[in-house]
Symmetry: C2
Subunit: 135 residues, 2 copies
């Protein structure tokens, strides 16, 4: 594959992600949450420790510190010390946090869904498979 084609592919992919984020950000903000905070909430069950969240979400650790502070202040998550390892903070969703997460994910899914309808079900499955190979 030629260099320019690779760049074309890269650019398409990059712009898709960037434009989708730009599109949903206002609606999420109206809901009272930022995009990355939503992603944090969404991964919290699977990765209850800040460092793990940072790695899973591909965001820096200090950002997690900041988001966790805000989310905790907003009572969307709770934080306790992990007795097994005193360095660790064990995080958990509050009921309101879980509700907001669901609403936010629904918004995102809806926005992305609006793009996805341009593809047939078979094409969507194909896209998923191709992206999985690349990830």
């Amino acid at each position: 594959m030629a260099k320019t084609d690779i760049m074309k592919l890269w650019s398409l992919n990059y712009r898709l992600v960037a434009s989708m984020l730009g599109e949903v950000a206002p609606a999420l903000r109206a809901l009272g949450i930022e995009v990355k905070e939503l992603f944090l909430l969404a991964e919290l069950d699977a990765h209850p420790h800040p460092a793990a969240l940072a790695e899973a979400l591909l965001i820096p650790k200090p950002s997690v510190t900041v988001y966790v502070k805000r989310l905790e202040a907003a009572e969307l998550i709770r934080r306790e010390i992990d007795n097994a390892d005193l360095r660790r903070h064990k995080l958990s969703l509050t009921p309101e946090g879980r509700k907001l997460m669901s609403a936010g994910l629904a918004l995102l899914a809806e926005a992305f869904g609006r793009r996805l309808v341009r593809l047939s079900a078979a094409q969507q499955a194909e896209l998923k498979s191709l992206l999985e190979k690349l990830g």
Copy 2:
């Protein structure tokens, strides 16, 4: 398509972009340029005005101001006033800027290419077509 599948697809795409950027950033920095500055150089021929660059690259106008300042100071680009519209700054690549852009794009293409070889030529074409439909 179910909500969770949409999220899965979203997440795959987002993570591909984020991880690719993380992968090439150090090499580009060693070359003396930041990722977004490289993208700016790459689009400069097609979009010689800062506002157009901001829109094309999906980055905010103030960021363009900052990057342009740095790139101009590094003598990678030049800036002149557009006589047709005195508000506009007409930008152009210097020879060194063009050389650095080529080298940077080659690095990026190489990194992305390392992922793309996981797909056959037909699959790459299919991916491109699907992403074009979504963009």
